[in-house]
């Protein structure tokens, strides 16, 4: 038997006219896909010629995983292959079924046109596909079961193979190696299973021994990994023939690695993947709950609609417009946020709600919703700051009794500026945050002026956990939820703008006097007619801020801390001798509400806002987009009638210079430095002696006087 490459095969084919050789090209492999690589000659592909020759007579080849071809039977139901190949039917059983192995792989067919055609002289020239033993280089196709079944069906039955494509080229190359094996195998197998072993082998010849030795070597199990080369090579070739990558020879080593790794992954399937996928499934479940919530409430549809219309904004519409500007979170993510907002409005008594934006963090992000509660439905929070104030006052009073003890410190903490009431100033809206849509919404606490003042001095990334401490200098009074709230307040005050005329001041002017600092209420202007988009883009004076500016004090409405101080100070005035506070603090004034943004300050020659048209190609439907340069990530759009603000970013202000942390103040002089606490040098020996001498002198003098007095007294008594 020659181990020959294809030409040889051809020759053989030609030789044996009667051979039923199935061209493996057209056969489709009906068998299931990949079976586990079996060690039994998977790759024995072409053993055609040899085997054919040898076991002409009865080579159902069933034992091997060859496709059983209906020996002699009509062409199997195999599909026809690409045609131009002539197939030979294994018409006669004796004619050794072409040792074509079935190629269960789907890959493209190769043809041995050249070899096949000359064989046309075979008994069955018609190109019937026959699934017969195609020789295929892919061992995996044939499964053991198949083999078994085939063993039984030794007669020429059309083997219901699926489309099989054998790569001829591969086949050829493997032939050399595997023909030998195949023969040997077929021989051996046939011997085992088939009554008719098929021809020739009689006494094992030298070559056969060599082959068997070689095969035994390949089958040797590696001591390290438990694999053997034979299986591995057959698996690899199976994979290659299945997938048919381009330039397979270049990635051959990678494929080898992959096949080896594939062994491991299967064993750990059950345990391995569960852990990893669990969080994914959890989130998916939560988000599924979002989608289902709509179905739950069907009862109060009418009431709901009334409220829902007011409360829930049309997030998708705004998202559409922002997408025109190139800003947005992606449609399905936005939709999930939309549903989460709906859930928020359903569970809380909310008058109005808006998707404020998204703040990125290190570990997790925040999705922020700006909410206005219905009248009278505010949830009050316990005030804790007053406690701090009282403590300060208490300390200064306690010390007055003990004068000889510690010197009294005249450090008086500056009075904490009280926070603004809800619904006014910086606390006009309540903010809810969540990390991902589907997670529960958490309400952020109202903001305190001190927090805003310090937030202006620090610059920290958000971690994503609301209870994370903010470690900074100056020390931030609060944790991340407070810092987040302060930044949200600053961003809102700095970047929430609307077209001029959209909002107008309320009709009642009486409030103006009560509230210092100007108007802080506005309402929608029903007569707003819209502004041309081009106008909105060209001139910044067409946009106004509709959120109050935050003063450097940290509040929107000026709080005069001096007035209150005077009342409290009256009691303590006797003890405090020195007041270091100025008697008069200038009132801070900020730009009033509804000032146009053209009045915004520039940052070192950079205009505070950048205006663009969303599209230059189709200007008639474009919208005006404004980006803030002061707070990168703040966007506003308007199409003339509608407008919306949005923020997406890290939550920090822009500054062209680098951040410099504030320097700690000089050490404060807490105690009056008088002789009682001032350090003095210890007296030297001479000084001490002199002092002692002086004291003794004084004592002597005193004693003399006393003795004189005593004598006088004694005289009196007498």
């Amino acid at each position: 038997m020659e181990d020959s490459t294809s030409p040889k095969q051809e020759k053989e084919n030609q030789e044996k006219l009667g051979e039923a050789r199935r061209s493996w090209e057209g056969k489709t492999a009906a068998s299931p896909q990949y079976s586990e690589p079996e060690s039994s000659e998977p790759l024995e592909a072409k053993q055609g010629p040899e085997t054919g020759r040898q076991s002409r007579s009865s080579r159902p080849w069933s034992p091997q995983s060859r496709a059983r071809t209906p020996l002699g039977g009509p062409a199997g139901p195999e599909t026809s292959s690409p045609a131009p190949l002539s197939r030979r039917e294994p018409s006669s059983t004796p004619s050794p079924p072409a040792p074509a192995r079935q190629d269960l792989a789907a890959p493209p067919q190769s043809h041995r046109t050249t070899s096949v055609i000359p064989e046309a002289g075979t008994p069955y020239p018609d190109p019937l596909e026959q699934s017969s033993d195609k020789r295929e280089s892919v061992p995996l196709h044939t499964s053991q079961s198949e083999r078994n079944t085939f063993q039984q069906s030794q007669q020429p039955k059309p083997h219901p193979c699926g489309p099989r494509d054998v790569s001829y080229n591969n086949a050829k190359q493997k032939e050399l190696r595997f023909d030998v094996f195949q023969e040997a195998d077929s021989n051996s197998d046939c011997d085992l299973q088939l009554p008719a072993p098929g021809g020739s082998e009689g006494a094992p010849s030298m070559l056969e021994t060599a082959i068997q030795n070689a095969k035994a070597y390949l089958l040797k199990t590696s001591s390290k990994s438990g694999f053997n080369l034979y299986d591995h090579l057959s698996n690899m070739l199976t994979k290659i023939l299945n997938e048919r990558p381009e330039n397979a020879v270049d990635i051959f080593e990678n494929i080898s690695q992959d096949v080896k790794m594939a062994h491991f992954s299967k064993k750990f399937d059950a345990l391995h993947n569960e852990n990893e996928m669990l969080p994914t499934y959890e989130i998916a479940e939560k988000q599924k709950a979002l989608f289902l919530q709509g179905h739950l409430e069907g009862v109060d549809q009418e009431l709901e609609d009334e409220i829902a219309e007011n409360a829930l904004p049309n997030v998708m519409e705004s998202a559409f417009y922002f997408e025109q500007a190139g800003v947005g979170l992606g449609t399905d993510e936005t939709y999930r946020i939309f549903l989460a907002l709906k859930q928020l409005t359903d569970t809380h008594p909310i008058q109005r709600c808006r998707f404020w934006g998204k703040i990125l963090g290190l570990e997790m992000n925040y999705i922020v919703a700006e909410v206005e509660f219905r009248e009278g439905e505010d949830e009050e929070e316990v005030e804790e700051e007053d406690v701090a104030e009282e403590r300060d006052n208490g300390e200064s009073e306690a010390d007055e009794d003990e004068e000889d003890e510690l010197p009294k410190s005249f450090y008086k903490a500056p009075q904490a500026i009280p926070k603004e009431e809800s619904r006014t100033g910086a606390n006009k809206y309540v903010y809810f945050v969540c990390n991902e849509p589907g997670r529960p919404w958490v309400k952020l606490p109202p903001v305190i002026p001190a927090q805003i003042v310090i937030a202006r001095k620090i610059k920290k990334f958000f971690t994503g956990r609301l209870d994370a401490p903010v470690i900074s200098y100056p020390p931030f009074p609060g944790n991340e939820s407070n810092y987040l709230r302060a930044q949200i307040a600053r961003i809102s005050a700095g970047t929430h703008i609307s077209p001029l005329g959209f909002y107008q001041f309320g009709e009642e002017e009486g409030e103006e006097e009560e509230v210092e600092g100007g108007q802080n209420s506005f309402e929608e202007n029903p007569d707003f007619e819209g502004i041309q988009v081009t106008d909105l883009v060209e001139s910044l004076s067409n946009w106004v801020h509709h959120v109050q500016h935050i003063l450097s004090q940290g509040r929107c409405n000026w709080f005069n801390s001096i007035q209150k101080n005077e009342e409290e100070e009256e009691e303590g005035e006797e003890e405090d001798e020195e007041k270091e506070e100025p008697d008069y603090i200038e009132q801070e004034v900020g730009p009033p509400l509804l000032t146009p943004i053209s009045e915004d300050l520039e940052i070192q020659n950079i205009p505070p806002w950048t205006t663009r048209l969303s599209s230059n190609l189709i200007p008639q439907y474009a919208i005006a987009v404004l980006q803030s340069n002061l707070w990168p990530g703040a966007y506003a759009f308007s199409n003339g009638k509608k407008f919306e603000n949005f923020y997406i970013g890290w939550g920090h202000k822009y500054s062209p210079d680098n951040y410099t942390p504030p320097v700690p103040p000089p050490v404060y002089q807490e105690y009056p430095s008088g002789p009682e606490i001032t350090e003095m040098d210890d007296p030297s020996v001479e000084e001490e002696q002199a002092f002692r001498a002086a004291q003794e002198a004084v004592l002597l003098a005193a004693e003399n006087e006393e003795s004189e007095e005593d004598e006088d007294e004694e005289d009196d008594y007498d």
């Binding site: 990678n254 988000q287 997790m364």
Partner: protein
């Protein structure tokens, strides 16, 4: 991100909020095809967008067969017409490092920077103020180069090196597994390795020379300059650079999809140590 999978990539990177408007997207799809054909690149990457005050720059990069060879950078103002940028030299980088602030948006804009230079005139040495003009194009080139060298990343296993030298795209790359995706060591800088030779021998012994031939992100300074997050419930891993805010890298674990995009002002975040 690969120009071939632009739409999907944009969708996956949308978590950072900045993306592209539909008309830009549409024009990119067509114009990048043409760029690929005209310049005969093997792969065209859409690098990102640098926001300027007046206009934005859209940047694309073309790669040849060898993935680690210097990339050609192109820019466009309208996503339709692309112009090639000169390669970055050290001189350019040094020159533009003095410029601060935002990009203007006009490539011919010139920044003025006054420098004190010592001028020798005979025996006298005095300082003169010289106004140096730096073109915005130069600055653009150097910023893109700096960003690439600092924060352009790819997952481990996406490229492999052959003994002949060139680096190829690994066609059998199936994606990182979930546990690998959360570790910084599974991502490499997409540039010639700088620190690889500083590794100890023990570490080097564990490396696979065909896959581990670039620096990993683990040893980046400052530590913590990358934010790793899983979005969409573990179906997407997103890395954001804190040193160059605006750079987003995304990867869907167990799939072949990965890429990075930069959308930002083109300024380094020098305050990073204070912010962590």
């Amino acid at each position: 991100m690969d120009a071939d999978s632009l739409l999907l990539s944009l969708e996956l990177a949308s978590g950072s909020g900045q993306g592209l408007s539909p008309d830009r997207r549409a024009s990119l799809l067509t114009s990048l095809m043409l760029v690929k054909r005209d310049y005969r690149y093997d792969r065209v990457l859409f690098w990102g967008r640098i926001l300027g005050l007046v206009a934005d720059y859209y940047i694309a990069q073309g790669l040849s067969e060898d993935q680690l060879a210097p990339r050609k950078t192109l820019y466009s103002l309208n996503c339709t017409e692309w112009s090639l940028l000169p390669p970055a030299t050290e001189e350019m980088v040094a020159q533009s490092s003095v410029v601060k602030g935002r990009f203007m948006g006009d490539p011919s804009y010139e920044y003025e920077h006054t420098e004190l230079q010592k001028v020798n005139e005979g025996d006298k040495v005095f300082e003169e103020e010289i106004v140096v003009q730096i073109k915005e194009e130069t600055r653009l080139v150097s910023v893109i180069d700096q960003i690439d060298k600092a924060v352009a990343i790819i997952p481990r296993g996406a490229l492999f090196k052959t003994p002949f030298g060139p680096t190829h795209v690994n066609r059998t790359f199936e994606g990182l597994s979930l546990s690998e995706a959360k570790k910084l060591s599974s991502y490499f800088h997409f540039r010639e390795p700088v620190e690889l030779k500083n590794k100890t021998l023990l570490e080097k012994a564990d490396l696979d020379p065909s896959l581990d031939f670039m620096d990993s992100l683990e040893h980046d300074i400052p530590k913590g300059s990358w934010s790793i997050q899983m979005e969409r419930g573990n179906a997407l891993v997103v890395l954001r650079s804190l040193l160059w805010p605006g750079l987003t890298f995304y990867h869907a674990p167990r799939t072949k999809h990965y890429g990075y995009i930069y959308v930002g002002t083109g300024e380094k975040n020098m305050d990073l140590p204070f912010m962590l």
